[in-house]
């Protein structure tokens, strides 16, 4: 699929013709011609007058035909939906619809910072004959997830041997690329603590009509006759039935703590910031659970306080990816808990996975509050291991180590209060804590 954005420069000649302005070179040609001719006449020197000849001749010849229109600029993208690390390709075309050629046409396209296209970042200068078009091939690499834009294009056209110039910002000549995060491999084999519906892919811990065999037990009133295990019943001379575990779906709520960002990310190739880890992990977890038929909801814990309603299926996965593209860090003050995590907004049985770097103190408070509310909460630590503060003086290192100790204390306190905290490590990294959560969820509870 290709996308085209066009800036029409030649549409209204009468108005656009006013964009052409004389350059300093035109003023210089006139000034020098006048001064040299005057000087030659006054001094009676033919040779001095002749010095003005090329200036007058060149200006007169160049101005014999003046341009009226600006060039049409068109930006085309071969593909607008990409993944991190994929190639960004497109074309910038400039069409000269005028009867006068452009001696030089400089095109400077604005390129998003996370698109590695060094050749197109520099202004490209081309000659465009009248009635012709020139194409500039755009080739680069999408370094990081997000919405990236190619364009607008700043156009500088020179005509009449540099005596006339037109500058214009082709603001409508833009193409937007959606660069989706690469999903780090993730595969959780453990069940979710409390499944919700009566359909789905998860083997629940509750008995049900269909599904995996849980065991054989004595017949009880209410059991269906078709579930009687006749072999065991004949051997024991008492009626026994085969008990199975029901298959159930689950609701997973992914909470993205993006109150603050940290780390040095250079795109998909090397390094990752908190935001990168959060988005990529969220995409991987959502993909995993949506593939299993579960419902996934998204919550951005920041000042933006964005939410995505729970839903299941391939369509929800695409929606999640689009939703993740707009994730941005910031807003440590005023992150409203009730706005995004209030009891009326979250399902009681949902597994709440909080992706947090635990930088902002309010994140730990949010986790504690979720746990006190009786929810199944799992914290995924998204702080990169190699993160370090900028060197601000002799005490930076000591202050950083103190902060790390304080953060470790917070993690320990959270674990003591029943919030498992696990570092994001891709495949299977959540299995152990999911198993613990499942056991604790199925255990009898004291009334609160």
């Amino acid at each position: 699929m290709s996308t085209v954005a066009t800036f029409r420069g030649a549409g209204t000649r009468g108005v656009v013709g006013q964009h052409w302005r004389p350059t300093r070179a035109l003023g210089r040609a006139v000034l020098l011609t006048g001064l040299l001719v005057l000087g030659g006449v006054l001094l009676g020197r033919v040779d001095v007058v002749l010095l003005a000849t090329p200036f007058a001749l060149g200006a007169a010849w160049a101005l014999r035909r003046r341009p009226q229109a600006l060039p049409d600029v068109e930006v085309t993208a071969d593909r607008t939906a990409l993944s991190e690390g994929e190639e960004v390709t497109g074309t910038i075309s400039a069409v000269n619809a005028d009867r006068t050629g452009y001696d030089a046409l400089a095109l400077r396209a604005a390129v998003a910072p996370w698109v590695d296209a060094p050749a197109i970042r520099l202004p490209q200068v081309l000659a465009v004959p009248p009635g012709e078009a020139v194409d500039l091939a755009v080739s680069g690499t999408a370094l990081r997830w997000g919405r990236h834009r190619l364009g607008p294009v700043h156009v500088t056209a020179l005509a009449c041997d540099g005596l006339l110039i037109a500058r214009h910002h082709a603001s409508s000549a833009t193409v937007d690329y959606a660069v989706y995060p690469i999903t780090e491999p993730f595969d959780a084999t453990e069940t979710v603590p409390r499944a919700a519906g009566l359909v789905g892919q998860h083997r629940s811990r509750r008995p049900g009509e269909v599904g995996e065999l849980a065991g054989v037990r004595q017949f009880a009133p209410g059991d269906r006759l078709r579930r009687v295990d006749w072999r065991v019943s004949l051997r024991t001379r008492q009626l026994h039935v085969a008990a199975t575990l029901s298959d159930r779906d689950a609701e997973v709520v992914l909470v993205l703590d993006v109150l603050a960002d940290a780390g040095h990310g250079e795109g998909s190739a090397s390094g990752a910031t908190v935001l990168d880890t959060t988005v990529r992990a969220a995409a991987a977890i959502a993909e995993h659970y949506l593939q299993h038929g579960d419902r996934v909801a998204m919550v951005e814990y920041s000042r933006a306080a964005r939410r995505l309603r729970p839903a299941s299926g391939r369509r929800q996965y695409l929606t999640v990816l689009e939703w993740l593209l707009d994730t941005s860090a910031g807003g440590s003050v005023g992150a409203a808990y009730d706005q995004v995590l209030g009891p009326h907004l979250l399902s009681a049985n949902a597994l709440t996975v909080v992706l947090t770097p635990l930088i902002d103190p309010s994140a730990a408070a949010m986790l504690a509050r979720l746990t006190r509310a009786g929810r199944s909460v799992l914290a995924v630590d998204t702080l990169p291991p190699d993160v370090a503060p900028p060197d601000l003086g002799a005490h930076t290192d000591v202050a950083y180590r103190l902060w790390r100790l304080e953060r470790d204390n917070t993690i320990g306190a959270l674990r003591e209060h029943g919030v498992p905290v696990v570092s994001w490590a891709g495949a299977g990294s959540l299995d152990l804590v999911l198993r613990d959560l499942s056991r604790s969820a199925s255990a009898p509870r004291a009334g609160r």
Binding site: R28, P54, A62, D103, A104, P123
Partner: protein, 169 residues
């Protein structure tokens, strides 16, 4: 950078042709000539190109008036062509961003047009100089007539250009 280098080289040639030979024998004179030639190359969008042309023309007048340097045809032609190259290459360099990647056909086309103008102007100048040498009454009247003609032509050209540049309603 190539275009700016062209501006500098053309300016240097013009100065070497115009400036009196004794001035070029001293280190200060040579340094001044190089510095003056470098001005338009470094700042083509400023007043340096105009200043260079005027200083060179002044140097030419001084060299041919105060020093016994001959006014030969080749010197006049070389001076006018190199000064025009300074002017037109500075016009291109002034409009281009310093980090621009310029397609070769832009520079080649530009130089071709500049050389064509310089050749035509040289032919015209050579013809005028040859005609002026045959006139026994000296160059003063010829310069006056030629200057008036050029001034009238220039006025007509500028008038035409001004009419064509007026916004259309």
């Amino acid at each position: 950078m190539l275009v700016r280098a062209g501006v500098g080289v053309a300016g240097l040639i013009a100065l070497l042709v115009a400036v009196p030979a004794p001035a070029l024998t001293t280190a200060y004179g040579l340094l001044g000539v190089v510095a003056l030639a470098a001005g338009p190359a470094l700042a083509p969008d400023g007043h340096w190109p105009s200043a260079l042309v005027l200083v060179t023309a002044g140097g030419w007048l001084v060299a041919t008036t105060l020093w016994p340097e001959p006014v030969t045809v080749w010197r006049v032609l070389a001076l006018s062509a190199s000064l025009y190259l300074v002017h037109t290459l500075a016009a291109l360099a002034a409009a281009l961003p310093s980090d621009a990647m310029v397609a070769p056909d832009v520079v080649v086309g530009w130089l071709a047009r500049a050389v064509a103008v310089a050749v035509v102007a040289s032919l015209l100048s050579a013809a005028v100089l040859a005609g002026a040498a045959r006139v026994s009454t000296g160059g003063y009247q010829v310069a006056t007539v030629l200057g008036l003609a050029v001034a009238a032509g220039l006025a007509a050209t500028l008038s035409l250009a001004a009419r064509r540049s007026a916004p259309r309603s």
